[in-house]
């Protein structure tokens, strides 16, 4: 068993100054409540119950805050509730004997497999709200099953291929169900599902010529994509289009034109990426924007140091990630934020370059104040000889140039202890119900964090990077597409011959 708690890992700090390092309530909970919390705050979770060092300065951090405390705001109250729930769970873990700890930290594979497999054949009436998302339902079940290395029956696989063929529009792309309008997001879900199935039948069922035409029709004059005919334009649409096009090897200059600039315009002053220009930085869009830019080989259009800083700060005292600043932790961001920051571990060259530019020499005045250096490689790249499928392939061959930039063990702790549901499936946070979406993205995030400390894409993680029994280890993914790596390689070969 991996020793998580009590500073077992060499990289874990041996003492913590104070646990109230970031979420607002931490600062307020104590003074306003009067009594100190009965146990260490959950903030202490990743770094365990070591003694507090004496503050070295004259300033007294333990001193109570201002005597007349303002009332708590909505953000603070909600945050406190979640922290308390998570603290209850971690408290049990800290108090447990080591073999009990090991059991608590187990991934309940069989239950998850049961939950996911069942959904492929039976969904109750309440699922009617997802009637326009059925390829997503396929992906949210098939992908985590592949992460769990669960092989589907041939019949079931064939039925999925047949069903998705019914969702494929005669003029290209996939809709949310048979006969529905083609939509980029459900196209992404359908293609990723077919790649995960990986059979010749599955891969050849995709009409690539029509898919390409569909994507061109979805392209706005700004270069960004809209979700469907007359649909909304946002970073999700751009990611799903670019990911699919790259994966099935139809990405070209025509499709790529202008997308990178649009995404770069969506990076906010905070560092993360928003759904559209000027909106709020958000984990989901940050993953989408970054992954799309890497697939386009234009990651340098983002201010990467700023992006990394923002994502790193989204991991909170609960050990999981939140989606936005001062919002609540949520298991699905284990993937969106976790994968985003893991992607940057392979971008060190660009990051070093950007750091040099922004700090060593001062920016000449008059330059665009947005800080996103669009200098360099834009115009030269648009020669038509670019082999776009290569960018996704080369990226995964590249080694991690630095170790994890987030707390990979703490994240696994949140997923295993707070997101798992005993009956199978995973959830947003304690108190919420399981669902297929969160099962998919919690497990994707678990895989990302397990492999985040490995250097090459084909080596196995060391036991100290896998929390709980080593049998928790999931299959690795290709983080730009979020499909299992082996499946990606099969598809890559298949589509490079086309």
């Amino acid at each position: 068993m991996v020793r998580l708690l009590g500073g077992g890992s060499a990289r874990r700090p041996q003492h913590t100054a104070r646990s109230r390092n970031r979420r607002p309530q931490q600062a307020r909970a104590q003074p306003s409540g009067g009594d100190p919390p009965p146990t260490p705050a959950p903030a202490a979770a990743p770094m365990a119950s070591s003694p507090q060092p004496a503050p070295p300065t004259g300033g007294d951090p333990a001193a109570p805050a201002d005597p007349e405390l303002p009332r708590l705001t909505v953000t603070q109250v909600e945050q406190m509730k979640v922290e308390a729930r998570v603290a209850d769970i971690y408290r049990v873990l800290f108090g447990a004997a080591s073999n009990t700890k090991s059991i608590m930290l187990e991934l309940w594979r069989d239950q998850h497999i049961e939950y996911l497999t069942h959904g492929l054949r039976h969904l109750g009436p309440a699922f009617h709200v997802l009637d326009a998302n059925r390829p997503w339902l396929c992906y949210w079940m098939v992908h985590p099953l592949a992460l769990l290395d669960e092989v589907l029956d041939d019949d079931l696989e064939d039925d999925i291929v047949d069903f998705l063929a019914r969702c494929q529009d005669k003029d290209g792309g996939y809709g949310g169900g048979p006969g529905q309008l083609p939509h980029l997001a459900t196209t992404y879900a359908a293609v990723n599902t077919l790649v995960t199935i990986g059979s010749e039948r599955a891969l050849s069922s995709i009409n690539r010529d029509n898919l390409y035409k569909f994507m061109l029709r979805m392209k706005d004059e700004s270069g960004a994509f809209r979700m469907h005919d007359g649909g909304e334009i946002d970073v999700r649409a751009s990611y799903t289009a670019i990911s699919v096009a790259s994966l099935v090897n139809i990405l070209d200059v025509e499709l790529a034109k202008g997308v990178g600039d649009y995404i770069a315009r969506c990076q906010t002053y905070e560092g993360g990426i928003a759904g559209e220009p000027h909106a709020e930085a958000h984990g989901g869009y940050t993953f989408c924007g970054l992954a799309a830019l890497i697939l386009l080989n234009e990651a340098e259009k983002l201010d990467l140091p700023c992006l990394i800083d923002w994502v790193a700060f989204r991991q909170g005292v609960e050990c999981g990630f939140q989606g936005r600043t001062n919002k609540l932790v949520d298991g699905c961001y284990s993937f969106w934020q976790g994968a985003a920051i893991a992607l940057t571990q392979k971008l060190v060259m660009i990051i070093d370059e950007q750091l040099k530019l922004s700090y060593s020499c001062k920016k000449p005045s008059g330059e665009d104040a947005c800080g996103t250096s669009s200098s360099g490689c834009t115009s030269e790249k648009s020669s038509s000889a670019v082999d776009y499928a290569k960018f996704g392939y080369d990226f995964i061959q590249r080694s991690n140039q630095v170790g994890p930039l987030f707390h990979n063990i703490a994240l696994q702790q949140y997923i295993l202890l707070c997101a798992q549901v005993l009956e199978g499936g995973l959830r947003d946070k304690p108190g919420k119900n399981r669902d297929h979406y969160h099962s998919c993205y919690c497990l994707s995030g678990l895989s990302v964090s397990q492999y985040s400390a490995t250097t090459d894409s084909d080596s196995c993680p060391l036991p100290q990077h896998v929390l709980g029994p080593y049998s928790n280890l999931l299959e690795p993914i290709h983080p730009l597409y979020n499909v299992v790596l082996d499946k990606y390689h099969t598809a890559y070969e298949f589509f490079s011959q086309e």
Partner: protein, 327 residues
């Protein structure tokens, strides 16, 4: 249930329509056990959708289909085609979509439909749109769709007059509301009435510092403060108020991660530490022998490694970028 009796199968105007069942194939996957009323509405919808019929009865049917599943973008799309064909009253349509939005405020399709309508209706509806998003934000002040819509209306149709006031109000209610801070950034950088970031920077720095001092553990104003000098590190360093606020906070709480991290950025960008700052940081440095010879930025980074254990990996990496810069 009322639905069973009032479904489209019982509408006189549907008498000649032959419902079209969903073609799920012989052995469907992710099959949803639809309730009869749902199935009935969708079977009729498919019939008219496939026929491309843009008629009043088709419009009525789309309303029914939206009610049973507002996430069906195909239905919304078809409804827009019908509205155009019938030259329908768009203000009435706005009332329709607002009723749906109030029950489903986190649905992409509804907000997209609203945007489509507002674009057609033009600047006259700007203030009405603002009132509506205000109503939604009163229930959930961080609703992403509502904020995106509000920003779109501001930039496309206008209505900036009281927007800064609105941000002030929301931040007064909840200073931790990062969506409101983000909106504030839009207002001070884009509002045609305020003169842009350069004109607003000075007073914004002041406002933000007040917010930080009131709640040093609130990350939002710290990020906002940096945002005010985005891409202009030299000016960030030159504004003494920035290093001052770090100093003030650290004097009270030497381990405030936000203050340390901003200070680190300042040092890296060339801040020459004042004697007062050096004195404040001296105990930190002394507490750890390995830092004795380190430059100040490295010392701050080491402190962050200790007092921000969740980001220990991040700070360790950050430290390596400091040394590589020197070489």
């Amino acid at each position: 249930m009322e639905h069973a009796k009032s479904g489209p199968g019982s509408w006189p105007e549907m008498a000649d329509v032959v419902p079209v069942p969903q073609d799920d194939g012989p052995s469907p996957v992710v099959p949803i056990a639809y309730r009869d009323d749902f199935r009935e509405v969708m079977d009729y919808f498919r019939a008219l959708y496939l026929a491309g019929e843009r008629s009043p009865r088709a419009l009525r049917l789309t309303a029914e289909a939206i009610e049973v599943n507002p996430g069906n973008y195909t239905v919304w799309h078809f409804r827009r085609l019908i509205l155009e064909a019938l030259d329908y009253d768009l203000l009435q349509e706005m009332n329709f979509v607002e009723k749906i939005a109030e029950c489903n405020p986190k649905n992409y399709q509804i907000w997209h439909h609203k945007r489509w309508l507002a674009e057609k209706l033009g600047p006259d509806v700007a203030n009405k749109e603002h009132e509506f998003t205000m109503k939604i934000l009163a229930l959930d002040a961080k609703n992403y769709h509502a904020w995106s819509h509000r920003q779109w209306v501001l930039q496309t149709l206008g209505g900036w007059e009281s927007e800064l006031q609105y941000c002030n109000q929301l931040l007064e209610e909840d200073i931790f509301n990062n969506s409101a801070w983000n909106q504030r950034y839009l207002v001070i950088t884009r509002s045609p009435l305020l003169g842009g970031l350069m004109a607003m920077r000075d007073s914004e720095v002041h406002y933000t510092i007040e917010a930080i001092l009131a709640n040093p553990q609130n990350e939002s104003p710290w990020r906002y403060l940096r945002g005010l000098y985005k891409g202009e590190n030299n000016l960030l360093v030159a504004d003494e108020r920035i290093s001052d606020v770090c100093l003030k906070v650290l004097k009270n709480d030497w381990s405030c991660v936000f203050a340390l991290s901003l200070l680190l950025d300042l040092l890296r960008s060339g801040l020459q530490p004042s004697d007062e700052l050096k004195a404040t940081l001296e105990p930190i440095r002394n507490s750890n022998p390995e830092m004795a010879d380190a430059d100040l930025a490295t010392a701050v980074c080491c402190t962050l490694q200790k007092c921000d254990p969740l980001r220990v990996n991040y700070w360790s990496w950050y430290k390596t970028t400091l040394s590589s810069q020197i070489s």
